[in-house]
């Protein structure tokens, strides 16, 4: 293995560790909110051209519930929590004790979806900001239910001013006993990535 490869491998390990801790914290919060046990899969991290991100995540036309926010401050990064259609329905049923039609959510259900996104993303950020001792300033997240490609447009557009490829850090979570799944996606800017590596002693 060459020096460069070894270095790249180490960088990847650090980013994975970083995302695992964030996702772990968010999954714990989501677990207690949903009253069901969740576990995290390992984080995958990859560098992709913008055009391939949706395919990498399962296809542009898949219907998902996505919450997104963008971090300002030192650590510039987009961050999303994405639930497939079925998981979004079961989450909203659990929270609102009402019938859920994913194509026509009631105002309460929309609000619940946003709040869940807010809680997940905040717990993710609290955990990682403690670890690297940086204050993160998230805008309040917004949520929408739509096709994945469309949900990703704004997160990608916010990075696209500077780059043509994105670093995607992806952590899945799954219900242990019940069918429930989703993932966190972090899309850091290069400066944010450097800062993470620096603070984590790379």
């Amino acid at each position: 293995m060459s020096m460069a490869e070894e270095r790249a491998g180490k960088v990847l390990e650090i980013i994975k560790e970083f995302a695992n801790i964030g996702a772990g914290s968010a999954a714990t919060a989501l677990s207690s909110l949903l009253d069901l046990e969740l576990m995290n899969d390992t984080t995958t991290c990859t560098i992709l051209p913008m055009a391939r991100v949706a395919d990498w995540l399962g296809g542009a036309e898949k219907i998902v519930a996505g919450s997104y926010t963008y971090l300002c401050g030192d650590l510039k990064s987009g961050i999303l929590v994405v639930l497939p259609e079925e998981s979004a329905v079961s989450l909203l049923k659990h929270l609102t004790k009402d019938r859920v039609t994913i194509s026509a959510l009631t105002p309460i259900q929309k609000s619940a979806l946003k709040e869940v996104g807010n809680i997940c993303l905040c717990w993710y950020l609290i955990a990682v900001s403690k670890m690297i001792d940086i204050d993160m300033i998230p805008a309040p997240p917004d949520a929408t239910v739509d096709i994945l490609g469309a949900v990703l447009d704004v997160p990608l557009a916010s990075l696209a001013q500077k780059v043509d490829t994105v670093i995607a850090v992806h952590t899945c979570f799954k219900g242990i006993e019940k069918d429930f799944e989703g993932y966190f996606l972090m899309l850091p800017e290069e400066s944010a990535l450097k800062l993470i590596l620096e603070r984590m002693g790379a």
């Binding site: 051209p49 913008m50 055009a51 391939r52 991100v53 949706a54 395919d55 296809g59 542009a60 036309e61 219907i63 997104y68 926010t69 963008y70 194509s103 946003k114 805008a139 309040p140 997240p141 917004d142 949520a143 929408t144 239910v145 739509d146 096709i147 994945l148 490609g149 469309a150 949900v151 990703l152 447009d153 704004v154 990608l156 557009a157 916010s158 696209a160 001013q161 043509d164």
Partner: protein, 158 residues
């Protein structure tokens, strides 16, 4: 017939009848389709941002440079300049209560696309824009028709 080829973000593809192209999952992005109904040649550019910075590397990513490139490539492929028409799909605002400048990039994409097409003298004959729903478009070079579908089954052909 072969599967229609998909035009991803910041990609530009030309085709002629009987080929078809798709543009899946358009949110704030805009698919700009130009078409020559006489020669039955057309193309799509899937743009993400409105204006290119100076010395930009990836022209297909921006409305202004991407549409110009599409126009030039279409001329190279033999379209008749006077016959060209354009259709626009996308430019939605996906996150309506997000408080960051980029949240309504769709509107800027639409404005820049219209301006660039006007500057090139290409007439816009159909649009399916704005709102807050994602869209997928299927372009058929045999007819020039575009079928636009949203997430929950609303379909429109234009």
């Amino acid at each position: 017939m072969a599967e229609p080829r998909n035009v991803g973000i910041a990609q530009l593809v030309l085709c002629k009848a009987p080929e078809q192209l798709t543009c899946l999952g358009l949110g704030s992005c805009v698919a700009v389709i130009i078409y020559d109904p006489i020669k039955k040649i057309g193309g799509i550019v899937h743009i993400l941002l409105p204006k290119a910075p100076p010395n930009c590397q990836n022209e297909e990513k921006y409305a202004d440079t991407g549409i110009r490139k599409l126009y030039v490539k279409a001329l190279e492929k033999g379209v008749i300049r006077e016959a060209l028409v354009a259709k626009l799909v996308g430019g939605a605002q996906m996150f309506t209560s997000l408080n960051i400048a980029i949240a309504n990039i769709g509107r800027d994409n639409i404005r820049e696309s219209r301006d660039t097409l006007r500057a090139l003298g290409v007439r816009i004959v159909a649009e399916e824009l704005e709102g807050n729903r994602g869209r997928s478009a299927l372009f058929d070079a045999s007819t020039g028709k575009i079928t636009v579908r949203t997430a929950f089954g609303v379909t429109r052909t234009m």
